[in-house]
């Protein structure tokens, strides 16, 4: 629930600020989306809030979200979006790269091999690249849908002492999750 609150907070803040700042050449923006991650092992919910600046048709900002695919992570990313064409509806390209921070949850603890907690979990690379369409819905706000490719890496180490073994052994696991992502949301 706290993540939903974190997600909504910038919405509220920027909705009040945006009206006066949208006229500036550089102004603050907040891009908030809900979406689905579809991959080999699951289709899971995701959400993201990006807060940053807009200069003409270029957006840049810092994003935070929830990624429930595989091991649940909190992606913290640097986001770039370039829109094209004029008018009320236009396409855009975006790129989003950063680090997926491991979220300690009951769901995750059930997924460790052999049920053993890892001795270390590495915050690993995550990235997303895609295209979308945005449409002005008035007062400087945009509604958008997008689709793209999402990569999440995840790594951890377990230390296991086998029966009669001379020493304990580190088992290091590296995951690469390749997903198709679709999102819809608003830009304030």
């Amino acid at each position: 629930m706290k993540y939903v609150f974190l997600y909504l907070l910038p919405l509220i803040a920027f909705s009040t600020l945006n009206a006066q700042k949208k006229k500036d050449k550089i102004h603050f923006t907040s891009i908030n989306s809900l979406g689905m991650l579809n991959g080999e092992i699951a289709s899971t919910f995701t959400m993201q809030s990006i807060n940053g600046i807009q200069y003409k048709k270029l957006n840049a900002g810092i994003g935070i979200g929830i990624d429930n695919y595989g091991y649940r992570t909190l992606p913290i990313t640097f986001y770039l979006k370039q829109s094209f064409l004029k008018g009320k509806t236009h396409p855009f390209l975006y790129s989003d790269i950063g680090v997926g921070k491991y979220l300690k949850t009951n769901d995750n603890s059930e997924k460790w091999p052999y049920g053993l907690k890892p001795t270390s979990v590495k915050n690993s690379f995550c990235g997303e690249w895609g295209v979308g369409i945005e449409k002005s819905i008035g007062d400087g706000c945009m509604f958008f849908v997008s689709a793209g490719y999402s990569l999440k890496k995840f790594a951890y180490t377990q230390n296991i002492y086998w029966l009669n073994s001379p020493t304990s052994n580190d088992f290091h696991y590296d995951y690469s999750y390749n997903r198709f992502v679709i999102r819809m949301g608003v830009q304030l």
């Binding site: 396409p91 230390n159 002492y161 029966l163 290091h172 696991y173 390749n178």
Partner: protein, 425 residues
């Protein structure tokens, strides 16, 4: 309006292109770990290396036993430290018996019996520090366990490991992997009991016991009775399958108390060559050293996890979450009754002499109880030592092994327990 159509068309094309790749997108996972490749050696070559040697520093300490003012302390798989303990205040590390594959010993009449990987070795120690091998019974422990469940021919043993890093592709649903781990560690806790004169004092987690001119050994599933009326020529009289995950054997009068990961079993040895099952007491799947006296058996149940690191729960005893002392009334073997359970931290080895019960309780240290009334044990003293796991009680002296040192405490006055000596390692 044309722009909108263009945008919509472009978006649709992009979506179709991306969607067409969905089927190609696979997750992948790799697992990196060390592979232990066994170094195998012929047992005949290993036997040739059994000999006395100069005293060596004690690295890892395993089981211990007391014999004729000597402490025989096992370095698992390496050999036996012979420590002169005539002066309990100043024990002297006198010599070392090089005995690869050793985990358990018992001594009687200056003859030492030990496991050497899957073989049982008989060694004359009358002229210590000189020792001589007098008999080897091959493949006496056919169920000898090696790491990673490796097994070898009965004429060979795994004496070491070549270690190599490896990376393998792994199923993405790695959390569903199944892992089988069986067997038990040759652990090292002790308590005290002996009827046979001139025999060593072994403990609650020993796998060897001497009683009535017989040597009894347990492996993970087998109980063997060896006639040692001719000490240097032990003869196997019987072998019995007694269940899985057997860990310890403790003799008392005409009974053998056998501890397994799932219960305690009592065997009658009034016919020494043919132990017969009498009764059992089941408990949760945990490690369980056991000792007994005339009317009561004391069983410590513990969840084993080295360094108290719960992450390593594939250690030795798996599945259990119990840490307690069970006191059982065994005066009527047809009706063994649980008298009382006492909560413990991580109890391991235990010993009893007279009305004093001594328990190694993991990180809590060594606990000395007044056991006059087993239904109402009174804790008299706790000595804080690092991971106590083994104790022998004899003649008012408790020989305690821990992760880092071997201590001797005089407890004849339980209200005034004194540290006699410390051997750090």
């Amino acid at each position: 309006m044309k722009n909108v159509q263009k945008v919509a068309a472009l978006g649709l094309v992009c979506l179709l292109v991306i969607a067409s790749f969905i089927g190609c997108m696979k997750d992948n996972a790799t697992k990196t770990y060390k592979v232990y490749r066994p170094k195998v050696e012929k047992l005949s070559e290993i036997h040739a290396r059994i000999k006395n040697d100069a005293p060596q520093s004690i690295g890892t300490l395993g089981k211990i036993c007391l014999y004729n003012n000597y402490i025989f302390a096992i370095s698992p798989n390496k050999g036996i430290h012979v420590i002169n303990n005539k002066n309990t205040s100043s024990p002297i590390n006198e010599s070392f018996i090089n005995l690869p594959g050793c985990g358990d010993i018992a001594i009687v009449g200056d003859v030492l019996y030990a496991d050497c990987y899957s073989d049982l070795v008989t060694i004359n120690i009358r002229k210590m520090p000189q020792v001589s091998v007098v008999k080897i019974i091959s493949n006496h422990f056919p169920d000898k366990l090696y790491a990673y469940n490796f097994s070898v021919d009965s004429t060979e043993a795994i004496v070491g490991w070549d270690i190599k890093d490896t990376v393998v592709s792994q199923s993405i649903n790695i959390e569903n992997d199944y892992l089988f781990v069986g067997g038990v560690l040759l652990s090292s806790n002790t308590a005290s009991s002996i009827d046979s004169k001139s025999a060593s004092v072994n403990g609650s987690m020993s796998r060897f016991a001497i009683q009535n001119n017989f040597l009894y050994t347990v492996s993970s599933y087998m109980l063997s009775a060896l006639n040692i009326s001719n000490l240097e020529n032990p003869k196997v009289e019987s072998k019995k399958y007694i269940g899985w995950n057997i860990e310890t054997i403790y003799p008392f009068k005409d009974k053998l108390f056998i501890g397994s990961q799932t219960g305690m079993f009592i065997y009658d040895i009034s016919t020494p060559s043919n132990p017969n099952y009498v009764t059992g007491f089941s408990h949760a799947r945990v490690c369980d050293p056991v000792i007994a006296d005339n009317n009561y058996a004391y069983v410590t149940l513990h969840t084993e996890n080295e360094d108290n690191n719960a992450n390593n729960s594939l250690l030795r005893c798996t599945g259990g979450t119990v840490n307690e002392l069970d006191v059982l009334d065994v005066s009527n073997l047809n009706n063994v009754q649980l008298v009382k359970q006492y909560n413990m931290s991580q109890p391991k080895g235990l010993g009893k002499e007279g009305n004093t019960l001594v328990i190694c309780d993991g990180k809590d240290g060594v606990k000395f109880y007044d056991a006059t009334d087993p239904a109402n044990l009174i804790l008299k003293k706790t000595i804080e030592v690092n991971n106590a796991y083994d104790v022998i009680c004899l003649n008012g002296i408790a020989l305690v092994t821990t992760k880092n040192a071997l201590y001797q405490y005089q407890y004849s006055d339980i209200n005034n327990i004194k540290l006699l000596s410390t051997i750090a390692y």
